[in-house]
Symmetry: C2
Subunit: 364 residues, 2 copies
């Protein structure tokens, strides 16, 4: 029998990220730091932070703070994106003045033409993404599209370029690709512009990112120090990344079988989950004897990242680990959960398509 500790929140991913956390000098989220008992905290999906103390104080003392999150409109949304969106909704509830940027310019300039061949495609993607955001409960007023901002926002993107040297940039990002430089300048503006006097003035901000994006977070904090606007250093929290459906894979919008998309049909869900990598044993006998490996099981991982009820997740973990629950049974739970969720969600998406199109292209 494997020696994995009976810890439903444990995974190889967490170990990898803990190494990164140390390396980068991040702070781990401790139980006393949790601003709520949301499962992103209890399951350590939000695993670390930089500067969360100031946000915690805002939450506790009911002081104003800003949340800024975004998605580049480079393709359809999958369940990895849903984690970002759920975290956005979480901090909204915690009182953040919240803004969600749909980055169409960024998507076009930073992705190869094979992925985003034109701004037009990036904008069609944006329509699609916004209809999902609205369906998931983000109010229209909180969503902005990168290509439809006020001049000050763009001016600021260019302005920050004077505050970062070629050497510093190259050290952080390892390239001097002009399209990607443009994308970065826009990202700096996204994260910092809301603190300008033309918006809300200096205010603590929080943004959720993956641990591997920490150099970018540090660049933002460095820029906040260098700019002449008395900006608060932006705070960040760090997610674990949900992995792809195949063993060792990453979720990728351009490889459909690596992820469940928010627009997948019940048939596709069933096919993808049944083909997904499983932590089950070669035979029912062996499974009953040795137990499954939830830590490697993609159906379990989906529930872990998306199924809200902690008790239920613990129960599934125990049963699967002990061999009581078979891989097919676990997959069935996952398929049913996803199918029910997506059928309802997609109905809402349909209702929001028209308004999403108007937000991107204007009223016709």
């Amino acid at each position: 029998m494997e020696k994995t500790k009976l810890d439903p929140w444990g995974s190889k991913e967490i170990k990898i990220d803990e190494k990164l956390i140390k390396e980068f000098g991040l702070k781990k989220f401790n139980k006393t730091d949790y601003p709520s008992n949301h499962y992103f905290f209890t399951r350590n999906i939000i695993i670390a932070h930089r500067g969360f103390e100031i946000i915690k104080e805002c939450i506790n003392k009911n002081k104003s703070f800003i949340q800024l999150t975004g998605i580049a409109s480079s393709g359809p949304l999958h369940f990895g994106h849903k984690v970002d969106i759920d975290a956005y909704l979480l901090f909204r509830k915690l009182g953040a003045k919240s803004f969600f940027v749909v980055s169409d310019i960024d998507a076009y300039v930073s992705r190869p033409d094979s992925k985003v061949p034109s701004l037009e495609v990036a904008k069609e993607n944006a329509v699609n993404i916004i209809s999902h955001l609205l369906a998931l409960g983000i109010p229209k007023e909180e969503i902005y599209i990168q290509s439809k901002k006020e001049p000050r926002y763009y001016e600021f993107a260019f302005e920050v370029s004077k505050k970062i040297t070629e050497n510093a940039f190259k050290a952080i990002y390892g390239h001097m690709n002009l399209g990607k430089i443009s994308a970065n300048l826009l990202q700096y503006s996204d994260i910092l512009h809301l603190q300008l006097k033309e918006y809300f003035g200096p205010t603590p901000t929080i943004t959720g990112i993956g641990v591997e994006q920490d150099p970018h977070a540090r660049a933002c904090r460095d820029l906040a120090r260098r700019l002449p606007y008395n900006l608060k250093l932006p705070s960040f929290f760090y997610f674990l990344h949900q992995t792809g459906l195949q063993e060792g894979s990453k979720m990728s919008a351009s490889i459909p079988n690596t992820a469940i998309f928010l627009e997948d049909s019940p048939k596709e869900i069933k096919r993808k989950i049944n083909k997904a990598f499983s932590g089950g044993r070669e035979s029912v006998e062996l499974h009953r004897k040795l137990g499954g490996i939830p830590e490697k099981d993609k159906a379990y991982e989906i529930l872990f990242y998306h199924y809200p009820n902690d008790e239920f997740i613990k129960e599934v973990y125990k049963k699967y680990k002990s061999g009581d629950m078979l891989s097919g049974e676990l997959k069935k739970i996952c398929i049913e959960f996803l199918t029910e969720f997506l059928i309802n969600h997609q109905k809402e998406v349909e209702k929001n398509k028209k308004i999403a199109r108007e937000m991107v292209f204007g009223k016709s």
Copy 2:
């Protein structure tokens, strides 16, 4: 006696630029190319071009074409800038739909802090520059400020960044400075955006620049080819540069004694011209005997670049060259010309200050 040919339009500068013209593969302006008998053509101040044929056709056949010229608001205007402005007014008269960009973002991001420490300073400079542009007869409607454009203009600046590789950029500009990259992206947008469907659609354009800026012009033409908008290749004409007031110097806004500024007082004009490098001889006797050297004389150069009447300039050249006219007499002509011009001009500038401020900062 020196062997310089009796050619009032000749100068060392022209020779240097002819070498550049060959090197860069530009076309010289021939007499048959002149779209008017403006002294910029007859004196070869506009010396070369790239793609002027298409503009000439527009002028001859009364077809629509666009002129775009600009000045970075990095400091006060001197008489070198006046050449750009006069050329703008010239092509306006020739029928160009004309736009003059005052580049405040460019000025801030591409200049060192010692010169332009903040966007605020760049905008104050812009107010000053615009009041001069208005005074010189450029209509308000033709002037735009880089920081007050529509989103499409900025989006386009970022969009073009995907169409130029790091290697190409470095080969053209010799650096990867992020502020200067931003300035270049904005300049590409300035020159090309008027051809987008959101503006006038594909239309021939003309822009006047110095010969040394030709690599930038070629980059713009290359981008026009690569962008998916069927843009006409922008055309360029090339100026000779008026030199600084000291021997071998360049005009520089940051070294006041190198140039006459459009805001200089009569006293300053007199002082600067009297101190300027002269092509006169060591003594009156020697001057009468050998003649002056107009090609090296800064007072003569100012008249050459700014005094409209060709016959008068030829007369001055002959008299100075032959020794009939002394350096002091030439300087007096120059001082009187500048003083009269600037006294009138500055009155107009005063009248336009308020509207210039409103254009940059809005109505208060």
